[in-house]
């Protein structure tokens, strides 16, 4: 029998431990497929964050490192500068990238560091049990904002792409989502652009992925997809926020 759909060689055989309906697994698969399609798996070093995807270092079939919470961009910088021939990607959640690791994210972007950041925005702290994230929407419930995010006491969410787009440094910034097959295809294209930018030594790319966390949101996987459409996308509009390949032409 001919196999027409299987596990991409960019993933290990390890069983993934994500919840049903979680967005992490989808994005993992896309990265894994791209490592093969772009023929970069054997020169890639990936960074697994602190968060639900800490186990990414078991899942991606390439060299991997697991640094402190939020420091992926700094560790990526170290690897890339030490071994420019390697392709380096840092996979991070919103707590990791936009709270504890904000400084490292902003400065790697400002340096136009030749690395790829993959930013999973699920508007919640998944790993630690659903606390308020820097991206939790106004009025959205979390275990540390049980009546909903109070913007007067807990401030406003951080729109990472818009924030980073204020810098001259970064080469490519795009926000995508993974709640429909069409969006998944778009996400893959965005990730491909990001990796190609690095291969061509163009510099810093950040792909923000609006991603489902049914467990943290306390709703079903089906409702989570609807929630992305109804709540997330209106606040976090999809699109390209920076593409210096266009500016340079």
């Amino acid at each position: 029998m001919k196999m027409i759909f299987g596990r991409p060689a960019g993933l290990t055989d390890t069983k993934q431990r994500y919840c049903p309906g979680c967005g992490h697994g989808i994005v993992h698969r896309l990265i894994a497929e791209l490592m093969i399609e772009l023929d970069i798996r054997e020169r890639t070093v990936g960074i697994a964050p602190v968060g639900c995807s800490v186990f990414a270092d078991e899942y991606f079939n390439c060299d991997m490192i697991q640094p402190p919470h939020g420091r992926g961009p700094a560790v990526s910088t170290g690897i890339k500068r030490a071994r420019p021939e390697c392709i380096v990607f840092s996979y991070q959640g919103d707590g990791d990238l936009a709270a504890i690791g904000t400084a490292e994210t902003v400065h790697a972007a400002a340096r136009n560091e030749n690395i790829t950041l993959i930013f999973i925005n699920n508007a919640i702290y998944g790993m630690t049990g659903g606390q308020l994230a820097p991206t939790t929407l106004p009025g959205m419930r979390s275990t540390t904002s049980v009546k909903g995010r109070d913007i007067y006491k807990q401030g406003y969410p951080i729109k990472v792409c818009e924030l980073i787009a204020g810098l001259d440094g970064p080469y490519y910034l795009e926000r995508v989502a993974v709640h429909t097959p069409k969006d998944i295809i778009k996400t893959k294209k965005a990730l491909k652009t990001a990796f190609q930018n690095q291969i061509k030594n163009n510099g810093f790319s950040l792909i923000e992925v609006l991603s489902m966390c049914p467990t943290g949101w306390g709703i079903t996987p089906i409702d989570s997809k609807k929630w992305i459409v109804d709540k997330m996308i209106p606040y976090y509009p999809l699109g390209v926020f920076r593409d210096r390949s266009k500016e340079e032409k």
Partner: protein, 355 residues
């Protein structure tokens, strides 16, 4: 004979790092060690190396983590508050068994403290410093010559044991000018082999993972016990010290770094006055030269510990003299530097009048 040159301690350190084959530096400015990154920025450029002025010490230590995990010799330098910020990163590096070199030009603390020379980071350096069960091998130079030599020694120890190494000095040593003998052949970074754990892309081999976590029941305990064995090996093999007139001394001063230099001057004056004084200088602060310390305690009545702190190394001296001797202390915390006369007065008080 090798070439000899009169240079500053900080500059000797930079040349020592370059000669050790290190081509990766990341750091954040802080007094009193700014001459190191300043000169490093020029030298790394000349040597086709990497120099990164980072957004914080947190970023710096994590860049080191990345570069060293990629199998390259990598170092940072900072001073006390900056080293405090690095502790989480150092803990991860130790927990991932990755070799790096960290220089701490210690200044007065706690808090912002001041920029004067100090030795008040001894506990932090020799007891791990960050969270979890680990140690950093800690070297304490006391001359410009050693500032030149210890980076190479440091990298060799770091790689031999796959462990972070700290060089502990202070602003006085960094600002001091002394003749240095460039007494070893500079290491060509290209001659350094890729370690069998380095991240470089998995072409032609199994993929590699650098991590400090293991959630499987009992596994992390196993890892820690393996690291314990490594530490026992370091303790058995790497104790370094220098002794000066320690045989038949009535009193032995114990001091490292700048305090050892001051104590050297004290030995001279005291001996001229007829006191039988010795000086024991730990060169490795971790592992502490405990074997020799215990041996000396068997035949010496008094030890005088001299530190630029409220007394931190004194705890190791007490531990390894095993209650055999009387332990005295002369300390200058908060950026104070002891003088030979001060120490001599203390000695006279202990030994009772002129001899």
């Amino acid at each position: 004979m090798a070439e000899k040159k009169l240079i500053y301690g900080n500059h000797a350190m930079v040349e020592g790092v370059i000669s050790a084959g290190c081509r990766f530096f990341a750091g954040y400015p802080i007094t009193p060690q700014n001459e190191i990154p300043e000169l490093m920025s020029i030298r790394m450029n000349e040597e086709d190396g990497v120099f990164l002025q980072t957004e914080s010490e947190i970023a710096a230590i994590n860049m080191l983590f990345g570069a060293a995990a990629a199998g390259k010799r990598a170092m940072t330098s900072s001073s006390s508050p900056g080293i405090s910020l690095m502790q989480e990163g150092i803990s991860y590096i130790a927990g991932s068994d990755i070799p790096v070199l960290i220089v701490n030009i210690v200044r007065g603390g706690p808090g912002l403290g001041n920029i004067a020379p100090a030795q008040s980071d001894y506990f932090q350096s020799t007891r791990g410093g960050g969270h979890g069960d680990y140690y950093t091998i800690t070297l304490a130079p006391n001359s410009v010559q050693e500032l030149y030599e210890f980076p190479k020694t440091g990298f060799e120890l770091a790689e031999k044991y796959r462990n972070p190494v700290l060089i502990l000095a202070d602003g006085l040593l960094g600002q001091m000018m002394e003749p240095v003998e460039f007494n070893f052949e500079p290491v060509d970074p290209k001659s350094l082999p890729e370690p069998e754990w380095a991240l470089s892309g998995c072409k032609g081999r199994e993929r590699r993972v650098v991590r400090s976590y293991d959630l499987r029941p009992g596994k992390l305990e196993e890892w820690n016990w393996r690291r314990y064995e490594k530490y026992q090996k370091v303790i058995a093999q790497e104790q370094r010290y220098e002794e000066n007139y320690c045989d038949n001394a009535d009193l032995i001063m114990v001091a490292y770094g700048t305090c050892a230099r001051v104590s050297e001057a004290t030995v001279k004056i005291a001996r001229e006055k007829g006191y039988k004084i010795g000086l024991f200088r730990p060169i490795t602060l971790w592992p502490f030269p405990q074997k020799k310390m215990t041996e000396l305690a068997k035949k010496t009545k008094h030890f005088l510990v001299i530190e630029m702190s409220l007394g931190q190394m004194i705890e190791d001296v007490k531990l390894y003299t095993e209650c055999r001797s009387q332990i005295h202390f002369h300390g200058r915390p908060g950026g104070g530097v002891p003088t030979p006369i001060e120490i001599l007065n203390k000695i006279e008080t202990i030994l009772g009048g002129k001899k």
